[in-house]
Symmetry: C2
Subunit: 118 residues, 2 copies
DNA sequence: GGGTCCGGTTACTTCAAGGGAACCGGGGTC
DNA sequence: GACCCCGGTTCCCTTGAAGTAACCGGACCC
């Protein structure tokens, strides 16, 4: 029933910790490496590089290095990356609409587990 | 800009390996533990239990044990779990529509990397 | 008394993502 | 000569998800 091509796995790297946020950061236009670190204040340069390289390999993002001094590198969404924003918006809207309910149910169950554990 | 509540992280456990597929398996109605193992033929009982417990805690799935012999336990989607099918369908449709393009771009970039590595 | 079925549990191991901290090179600036 | 900026890289470590294999208890069946 389920195999690697079944389409029930999220589109490749969107399940990781930073890709979705990077997509959002790049939505309004190209950004430099250090500009991306500001909103994602918890990301280390290592992880940021890794994530950007992977997104570039998968064609969501393009990398342009300008031969200046000090160096300047700009990351931008490709057409494919921009296309990803549509299902992502849909999912975000759904999450916002159900967030209170989701958190409520979970909290309730965690409380119950705690009470049973006594 | 981004914190834990920003809604840009996937709705909780949908990013893990088996949850999305379990949702699909339960779409048509309640299923028993061993019935779930058939379509997910690569899942071990340990991982299946873990995933179901987590989905239960988050309120996607309900667990009903019948006092029979041999034992019978049925898992079913809750209303909230069923609501998740909508954004999931949207995402699956998007993935199917772009799958060829995504795989093509990735393959191209992997080839280029390989060529540069020589 | 041995086997089957069901719905798991337990112990051990593997693997990749992620994080922290330090370092780097090239050029410009004081 | 020392310091800054930018865009990283390198090394080491922790964590958690996942996998493997073996085992369990109750009841019924032969």
């Amino acid at each position: 029933m389920f195999d690697a091509d079944c389409g029930h796995r999220m589109p490749f790297r969107v399940g990781d910790k930073w890709s979705a946020m990077l997509l959002r950061c790049l939505e309004a236009g190209p950004r430099r490496f250090t500009e991306l670190k500001v909103p994602l204040h918890r990301v280390s340069p290592k992880v940021l590089t890794e994530t950007l390289r992977a997104m570039e390999r998968d064609g969501w993002v393009s990398r342009t290095a300008y031969d200046e001094n000090p160096p300047r590198v700009e990351y931008a969404l490709t057409a494919l990356g921009r296309a990803l924003l549509d299902p992502m918006d849909h999912l975000c809207a759904w999450t916002r609409a159900h967030r209170a309910e989701i958190l409520g149910v979970r909290e309730e169950n965690v409380q119950r587990e705690y009470a049973q554990g006594e």
